[in-house]
């Protein structure tokens, strides 16, 4: 994915993010924020047994965090807990500059270059950290 394509995906998801709304009852709520910056996002997850049926979010955050949340939501709905954790770990590999599964991450590959910007890496990882926390809570 070239820089311009990446930029376009990020901007589209920032300006029109997926499922930015407060859900009805029956959703698991998890807050995710960075200690070093001001991004602050609430994720709401609807489970159907082991499967993610729906995710919505609310919050205030930068373009990278918002777009990353939107892309994550699109890519994780329909996945099982285990599949979602695998996706999250591949995402971390990417933002840490390691080899990762491009096929699995799909358009989330737009953050591949972010491993070179330490201060924005935390923004891209933010929703994934929240989702990971939510899944681990459910697995307890």
């Amino acid at each position: 994915m070239n820089t311009e394509e990446s930029r376009q995906i990020i901007m589209e998801n920032y300006l029109n993010p997926q499922n930015r709304n407060h859900p009805h009852d029956g959703y698991q709520e998890v807050n995710t924020r960075n200690v070093s910056c001001i991004d602050n996002i609430n994720l709401y997850i609807k489970w159907n047994n082991n499967k993610i049926e729906d995710i919505t979010f609310e919050g205030e955050a930068c373009a990278v965090s918002i777009s990353s949340t939107s892309i994550m939501i699109k890519n994780l709905i329909g996945k099982t807990k285990e599949e979602a954790l695998e996706y999250i770990h591949e995402f971390y590999k990417m933002t840490n500059g390691k080899t990762f599964n491009k096929e699995m991450l799909q358009d989330a590959c737009c953050y591949e270059e972010i491993s070179k910007q330490g201060n924005r890496k935390v923004c891209a990882n933010l929703p994934l950290k929240g989702m990971e926390k939510a899944i681990l809570e459910k697995l307890k």
């Binding site: 910056c37 205030e60 924005r120």
Partner: protein
Amino acid sequence: MNREDFPLLKEEIIYFDNSATSLKPKCVIDKMADYYTNYPANAHRGDYDLSYKVDQEYEETRELVKKFINAKYLEEIVFTSGTTESLNMIVNGFFEPLLEAGDEVLLTTSEHASNILPWFRLANKKGIKLNYIPLDNNYYVTIDNLKKVITPQTKVISIAGITNVIGDIRPVKEICKLAHENNVFVVLDGAQMVPHCKVDVKDLDVDFLAFSAHKMCGPTGVGVLYGKKELLEHLEPTLLGGGMNESFDNPSEIYLKELPTRLEAGTRNISGVIGFGEAIKYLEKIGMDNIHKREHDLRKYLIDKLLLLKHIDIINIESDSGIVTFNVSNIFSQDVAYYLNKYNICVRAGNHCAKILKSSVGVNNTVRVSIYFYNTYEEIDNLVELLSDYDKIVKEMI
């Protein structure tokens, strides 16, 4: 002005985050390196020449601070790790034993966390009541508004001299006068004030003052707690240990040293204190009035230019300090900061540790430009040029 004194300014960097911390001139860096290289002994242990020199240098800084803020006695100057520690010592060491349930403390919603959280904890612990002086339309504290909230139960007013988001300069002298007429103590958070204008504790008549070295060309990890001597005598040490005790045998026989040593337990940040002395000499040489005027002129220049940009919403158009807080329409403050960072411009985005201010201003996060005397009109031109192109910001903010 004086840019040649700052090693970092030889690089292509524009530093507008001076409210967070200032840059350090070479003379301060050299002074600290001199301590570590040539006389790195402990203070107050002066049985040999090296240690004696440490004492001399350390205590010289106390003299310099006393003169700088025009304190009456040397014992009124206590070295701490910074404003945060100073304020915590004042709240926990002086007011906690003094205040009783039902007593009131007046704050404002634009205070920094360091002047809020110690009071929150004391409120939870002792049942004291916290009230906020209402801010006017410019988010200023006025004497009229203060009069409205002082009650017979009010015991303390604890406020910043200049706030770190709005940058308003509070009428401290008038506040102290009104407070003292009502038997109320005044605690002044001077973190943003002492580095930027002349602060005379005798003239202002403040009871306590806290400030940090690192915001005024000095090193990090050093600050000052000033208190009127008769009050400081009653401040219970929150740290006990070496250096501050006279003698001890058992729990009922602990004898502490006189002020200020009693409040400086353990080995202090010696290199920091010595470097701080050099920073004060440096600022005195430039002149605090010159520094204040320079910042005022630069701020006006920046505000006048930003007012021409329709997509910039300035939060604090009117205030007098070097702090300018704004947002770019529909762009998250952090994205603006990242965009400017691409051009080596350092600004701060966020809530700037004033987390309850949003209740007054209605905005959670902002971009803050904070100016010091070494900033230039050309730097402001560069900043404004980058901010003037909205499409460019959107294009380059990620």
